[in-house]
């Protein structure tokens, strides 16, 4: 039997190999052709866009992709880069490290000269070296775990405020609210855990107390025992570091359980849906947020154009996604060519680039020199700038 199976195995694998090779050639043919495919738009200079297109974070990915495509169209309408047009190739990372490396290799295979995107930190980290080996610059627009900064092989630029920036803002806010017993709640993923741990360390370093550091599971609906536990510890400020959907649930159950103290949520919860889903319980909640279009005087035109084109208001990361392309275009112009090393050098030298979200100048570790975080509060069912 062992011999028989080997032969059959050989035939099967053979046919599969042929299929895969066929598919490989086919896929590279479709995207390098001039026809406008759904995933790849035509252009002389290809930009890779790794974002979650499937899975639970797909909404964010789609929103950012929209803004990126808008920016690309605008750059092209103005004549492109030194006469060449930009084009994008989207790679679905599904917020999963394994899928992300496959997507990254796919983008590299398609000959992209730069990468713009990146939503989930966990999916961004393992791809950095894949791009770096080919000298491809990566402008990370939303993901902001400190692990990205730590692991930066030199090609990566973060244009979202980092966890360090957000932590500073959080500590500032906690002090302003005169919090005594802070409780931090995270969700056990790379992003929320990073923010929670950094905040805990910073708050303790400032000589204050953290009464509890809790971890919930994504998709879990019942926080009642957590609420009771927090109340029994005389908590007067709860800091939620994960995403809005479960955040809204926690806020509701905190208020339902009779919790009277302050509630602060991190940038992952900065979404109008937080207000909608938390309802009356959400009133008064503080939100640490990346610069949202509606509070940026410079972004009015962008927000209108986005709404006209896609029929919805731009999400929390759309302005940064839009800025990423423009920053890249600016760097390419300054570099004078599309050589990876030249673009990386030009990006490093960026000084006071004016984006929708503010001025971009990179610190030596290639994160923003100045934090662009803002604090919002929910008042009468709306976000109000603090």
């Amino acid at each position: 039997m062992s011999k028989k199976f080997l032969s059959v195995l050989a035939v099967t694998l053979l046919s599969f190999t042929v299929i895969v090779t066929g598919c490989g050639t086919q896929s590279s043919a479709t995207s390098s052709g001039s026809s406008d495919q759904s995933a790849a738009s035509s252009g002389d200079i290809k930009i890779g866009v790794p974002l979650p297109m499937t899975g639970s974070e797909a909404t964010y990915g789609k929103d950012m992709e929209n803004a990126i495509k808008m920016a690309v169209d605008e750059v092209n309408a103005k004549g492109g880069i030194n006469g060449k047009k930009l084009g994008t190739v989207t790679g679905d990372d599904a917020c999963d490290p394994q899928q992300a490396t496959a997507a990254a290799n796919k983008l590299v295979s398609e000959g992209v000269v730069a990468i713009v995107g990146g939503y989930c930190s966990g999916a961004v980290v393992p791809t950095l070296t894949i791009y770096n080996e080919k000298n491809i610059p990566y402008i990370v627009e939303a993901a902001n775990s400190s692990k990205i900064t730590d692991q930066n092989p030199g090609n990566t630029f973060q244009i979202n405020g980092t966890a360090v920036h957000q932590t500073q803002k959080a500590v500032e806010l906690f002090k302003k609210l005169e919090a005594k017993n802070v409780a931090i709640v995270e969700q056990g993923d790379a992003y929320s855990s990073d923010l929670a741990k950094q905040t805990e360390a910073a708050w303790k370093a400032a000589g204050n107390t953290v009464v509890s550091h809790d971890v919930t599971t994504k998709g879990e609906q019942d926080f009642s025992s957590l609420v009771t536990s927090l109340k029994s510890k005389n908590t007067d400020l709860v800091f939620w570091t994960a995403y809005y959907a479960d955040g809204a649930l926690l806020i509701k159950q905190l208020r339902q359980g009779g919790y009277k103290g302050a509630i602060v949520v991190g940038d992952g919860s900065s979404d109008p849906k937080l207000i909608q889903m938390s309802g009356a319980a959400g009133e008064g909640t503080y939100v640490l947020s990346p610069p949202v279009a509606e509070f940026l005087p410079t972004a009015k035109q962008f927000a209108d154009a986005y709404k006209a084109k896609y029929g919805q208001t731009p999400g929390a990361y759309a302005p940064l996604a839009y800025d990423g392309i423009n920053l890249l275009a600016d760097a390419m112009k300054r570099a004078g060519n599309t050589d990876g090393k030249a673009i990386i050098k030009a990006l490093t030298e960026t000084k006071d680039f004016q984006g929708l979200a503010g001025k971009v100048t990179f610190a030596p570790n290639k994160t923003l020199q100045e934090s662009n975080f803002i604090v919002l509060q929910i008042k009468n069912g709306q976000f109000v700038l603090q």
């Binding site: 199976f5 080997l6 032969s7 195995l9 490989g24 490396t101 080996e133 056990g188």
Partner: protein, 318 residues
């Protein structure tokens, strides 16, 4: 009908002919070896991923197919392997030296999981292994040494004979060699005393016991060997990805590996390989349709099972 049967037999005969077999097998090996010359990084990545799942599927096949035990937490072994290598390398240990340690840790994990639970009814074994899988993942998430929720990042790339393994092609060949080793080991075990003992236990445990086979001990060996496969795969996974996080070892991962084994046909080496190939290729081929592909995948899974409950490549009853 008569013709078709005759035709089928003839085809089978041709395929099974010694010369044809040798021809196809060598052709396959040549193609797989030469493939990186002609394709892009993406195809190499997909193939490497396939190799990786083949190794895991072959490992789980020993537990499920050979010994007939349910395991819904196989990712735990793969996690132990990956984390052991990742942590030891952080303390400066050479990658190649971490592999035997990773294997030992996995075998110990196999004993811990298997020891007290193998006497349980099969359905309870399912939930217990699932529970152990979750415990492993949550522990990795909560401990400092495993890097918490962010996991371990910046794991060094290994060197072999002065050559640093860092490009996808390097890993392509590395994992291909591992697949060949895994197949050889699987075959040897299947035809060993132990392999026959598992077969007896699967067919009739009481009779096997009467023949002097210790069922618990024999089953435990299956866990240990299956775990060792996971450990090796995990160790190489860690250096290929350079970053590992607890989410990679969630229940879905275990379910995927399980699917590969059962889809292909339990107990069969080509079945496990076919299952792994299907599992990796399907979502990649249908990448363009985005979210719909996983829906399609689910429907297809049901259809395959309904029409071929023994798997795509069932073990022939002799």
């Amino acid at each position: 009908m008569v013709y078709s049967v005759g035709f089928k037999d003839r085809v089978l005969e041709t395929i099974n002919g010694k010369k044809t077999r040798a021809f196809f097998l060598s052709l396959l090996i040549i193609i797989v070896v030469l493939l990186p010359l002609g394709v892009n990084n993406y195809v190499e990545e997909v193939m490497t991923n396939t190799f990786f799942y083949i190794i895991l599927a072959l490992g789980l096949n020993i537990v499920i197919g050979y010994a007939g035990l349910v395991d819904l937490g196989y990712a735990a072994f793969f996690a132990v392997g990956a984390y052991t290598t990742g942590i030891l390398m952080r303390y400066g240990l050479n990658f190649w030296l971490t592999i035997p340690i990773a294997v030992i840790f996995c075998v110990i994990a196999g004993i811990i999981i298997g020891g007290p639970t193998l006497r349980l009814r099969s359905d309870y074994l399912a939930i217990v292994t699932l529970g152990f899988g979750e415990i492993t993942r949550i522990t990795a998430r909560n401990l400092k040494i495993t890097g918490g929720a962010s996991g371990l990042v910046g794991i060094q790339r290994p060197t072999i004979f002065g050559h640093k393994l860092y490009q996808i092609t390097d890993f392509y060949y590395t994992f291909f060699i591992l697949v060949i080793l895994a197949i050889i080991v699987s075959l040897r075990i299947y035809h060993s005393r132990l392999g026959r003992a598992w077969q007896y236990i699967r067919e009739d445990e009481d009779a096997a016991e009467a023949m002097g086979i210790d069922p618990v001990k024999t089953k435990l060996y299956a866990y240990m060997i299956g775990a060792a496969f996971g450990g090796v795969a995990g160790a190489f996974f860690a250096v290929k990805m350079t970053a590992i996080s607890p989410e990679t070892f969630a229940f879905t991962q275990s379910a995927m590996i399980l699917l590969a084994v059962i889809l292909g046909g339990m107990g069969k080496i080509p079945g496990a390989i076919l299952g792994a190939v299907f599992l990796v290729f399907f979502p990649e081929i249908f990448r363009e349709i985005g979210q719909m592909r996983m829906l399609l995948f689910g429907i297809l899974l049901v259809i395959i099972m309904v029409f071929r409950p023994q798997g795509l490549w069932p073990e022939r009853k002799s």
